[in-house]
């Protein structure tokens, strides 16, 4: 059990679980938003703001879970802003997303400055690996409760989208706004709510970054995870369950570098740092097509037109 390969695989398993959690939250949130026919590219900013608010909240109140809640609320504020602005005619949701990305990051850096130094109480992980006497496996299976919250949220959302009245309304709005209006649904209201809820989830993803892994707040905390998660939704073909699987895949890819480092392979460190971005791009190239729009794409999405 202590061969280098086993160590790397175990480290990748642990890394996949840890690294995937923020991807998962952002992707599931974005999935809900896109299901209603709107794209919010600003979740990178939401993620960073969520991380900052969670850290500050946990530091101020002493309760990390309160920090998580505050991060979600901060995320929903940004989501609501996006939702309200994009409701106006002639406003481009992709461009607003870019603006929200810059705005969210700026606000997070501005208010986050005093929290770079102090140490805030972090979320306690559940030692699922305690049964094993292998220390590596034990630490790999130290799973943060937010991981399970994310998986449950994805499963619940997937079920609700398929089986509930609310889910039907969201899907109708996403597939044909005209049809939704014809049966008396307020398209703007639905999209506002889904963008707000998406922001809430992305904020919680940020809380995981600052309160669990890597577990501190600094300005380089998120470098593109929010953006990659948005790309991941395309790969997951707008299904919350597949978003979880895609996030795990990405987590695994992101964990290759640190896993190799743990057995002393430091060469190509920067290459492995770039691996998730390259993987995202590769997946986008592989799953897109110039001839037809992606499978299962909500018909109202700007990308589909």
């Amino acid at each position: 059990m202590n061969t280098p390969l086993a160590i790397v695989l175990i480290a990748m398993l642990g890394g996949a679980i840890r690294v995937s959690t923020p991807f998962m939250f952002v992707a599931v949130g974005e999935c809900l938003t896109e299901k209603s026919g709107r794209i919010n590219l600003g979740l990178e900013g939401t993620l960073v703001l969520g991380a900052m608010v969670a850290y500050a909240g946990s530091y101020r109140t002493g309760s990390p879970w309160l920090g998580v809640l505050l991060a979600g609320l901060a995320g929903s504020c940004l989501g609501a802003m996006h939702g309200v602005i994009c409701k106006l005619p002639r406003v481009n949701d992709v461009a607003v997303g870019i603006a929200m990305m810059l705005f969210g990051t700026g606000v997070a850096f501005f208010f986050g400055k005093p929290y770079i130094q102090p140490t805030a109480p972090r979320l306690v992980s559940i030692p699922l690996g305690a049964w094993s006497d292998n220390a590596d496996l034990g630490s790999a299976l130290n799973v943060n409760p937010l991981f399970f919250v994310g998986v449950l949220a994805a499963l619940a959302l997937g079920w609700a989208l398929r089986n509930t009245r609310w889910g039907l309304i969201v899907r109708t709005v996403g597939d044909s706004a005209a049809a939704a209006r014809a049966i008396g649904i307020s398209v703007d209201l639905v999209r506002f709510l889904t963008t707000t809820a998406g922001g809430f989830l992305a904020g919680i993803g940020g809380a995981f970054l600052s309160l669990s892994y890597p577990g501190s707040w600094n300005q380089g905390l998120s470098s593109g995870q929010g953006l990659m998660a948005v790309a991941l939704v395309i790969f997951a073909r707008w299904s919350p369950e597949r978003c979880v699987l895609a996030a795990l895949l990405f987590g695994g890819a992101g964990a290759i570098g640190p896993a190799l480092q743990s057995i002393g392979v430091t060469q190509g460190y920067y290459f492995f740092n770039a691996a998730p971005y390259i993987l995202t791009l590769g997946i986008m190239v592989a799953t897109s097509s110039a001839k037809r729009s992606a499978r299962d794409i909500p018909g109202e999405l700007a990308m589909a037109k």
Partner: protein, 381 residues
């Protein structure tokens, strides 16, 4: 009505010789009136953003008047600070052009930062073996070519993927930015690292003799002039040539362009490559005129501010210049704001983000004010 109007004009022109020039004058007035909307609404957005930012400053107990005063002093107030502003507006003009040209063909490319970083890195890397061996002027030409070529390839790749595989160019160009920064870090901390500099991983300095000089009589490097020339040149390219016309047709309606038999794929890749070349050139000037070497300082956020500049200028290459100077002043005054007012360096980011959000919100105002409407535009709607 449409077909009748020119005929009537011709007839009256034949009878009264003064009529055509009168008509031209009123044509200009009408165009000015319609065009002023594109100045007034962004200006209004700027004012609203400034007002909201003032409220923000008041809420955290800082004086907005001090803020304006510091921006004035740090960015525009003296000859020294204004030259500093122009210096900083050079990369902004170039990275804004990198957003504006693809925008004309209907693409939202936001990868200017990556092309700047890689272009700058390529310049520094290719210079390393040439310094001390090849004459400075030749080295600089090679450096600039390398920066332009690498930048063009980088954003051109996003354009190519868009056309050939339908990959969303906004996401891919931003991903390429992260990859570009990682590539630079890989070399700068690895094989190309200057081992005599333990503080900050950098390439070897190109040395004073190999740097781009200043425009005579000023403290501003030649990159600013290059930005001006490119802005004018690209404006001509996009408005006065067949290429520009075809690009704008494609941006207006891609299906119509395809139906017309326009080479849409080539146009998209060409526009993306022009964009990348501009950003790569910005990287070259950052290395050859400011830093003297490539390191993490290249990723200073010019590429992201350039996005805002281009949107505020409504992707018009000529309008980009004054807007870039305005934001260059803001960037230049950032340090002063930090020191004098005790505000974090992210203050400028907050202000930029706010301006961007308000500006995009203001898009909804177009066509809502009767004052900008001409008879022709009423006909259209």
């Amino acid at each position: 009505m449409d077909s009748g109007a020119p005929a009537a004009g011709e007839v009256s022109g034949a009878v009264l010789p003064a009529a055509p020039s009168e008509r031209a004058a009123s044509d200009l007035a009408l165009r000015l009136r319609a065009g002023s909307e594109y100045v007034a609404i962004p200006a209004l957005a700027l004012a609203i953003a400034a007002f909201l930012f003032s409220l923000f400053l008041l809420a955290i107990g800082k004086s907005p008047i001090d803020f304006v005063d510091n921006i004035w002093r740090g960015g525009f107030g003296s000859g020294f600070s204004f030259q500093n502003t122009l210096q900083r507006s050079a990369p902004l003009i170039l990275t804004a052009l990198a957003v504006a040209i693809p925008a004309r063909i209907g693409l939202i490319m936001i990868g200017g930062e990556g092309a700047l970083v890689l272009g700058g890195f390529a310049s520094a890397a290719i210079a390393t073996p040439m310094v001390g061996v090849v004459a400075p002027w030749l080295t600089l030409i090679v450096m600039a070519s390398a920066g332009v070529a690498v930048g063009a390839l980088w954003i051109g790749l996003a354009g190519f993927l868009r056309y050939a595989r339908g990959v969303n160019e906004t996401i891919s160009s931003l991903l390429l930015t992260y990859i570009g920064v990682a590539i630079m870090n890989f070399f700068v901390e690895g094989s190309l690292r200057d081992l005599s500099n333990p503080n900050k991983p950098s390439t070897r300095p190109i040395g004073e003799a190999y740097m781009v000089g200043k425009i005579p009589g000023t403290d501003v490097h030649w990159g600013f002039l290059a930005g001006l020339i490119l802005a004018v040149g690209l404006q001509i390219l996009m408005t006065r040539t067949t290429f520009g016309f075809a690009a704008r047709v494609t941006g207006g309606n891609m299906r119509a362009a395809l139906a017309q038999g326009l080479p849409v794929g080539k146009l998209i890749v060409a526009c993306a490559m022009i964009a990348g070349a501009c950003a790569g050139l910005a990287g070259f000037y950052e290395v050859a005129a400011i830093q003297g070497r490539a390191n993490a300082s290249l990723a200073a956020g010019y590429g992201f501010t350039g996005i805002l500049v281009s949107f505020l200028a409504r992707h018009n290459p000529l309008a980009i210049v004054p807007v870039a100077i305005l934001f260059g002043g803001l960037v230049a005054a950032g340090g002063l704001i930090q020191r004098r007012m005790g505000l974090p360096d992210a203050t400028v980011l907050v202000l930029q983000g706010l301006i961007f959000v308000v500006l995009l919100t203001s898009e909804t105002l177009y066509g809502r004010f009767a004052i900008f409407k001409t008879a022709a535009s009423k006909d259209r709607t």
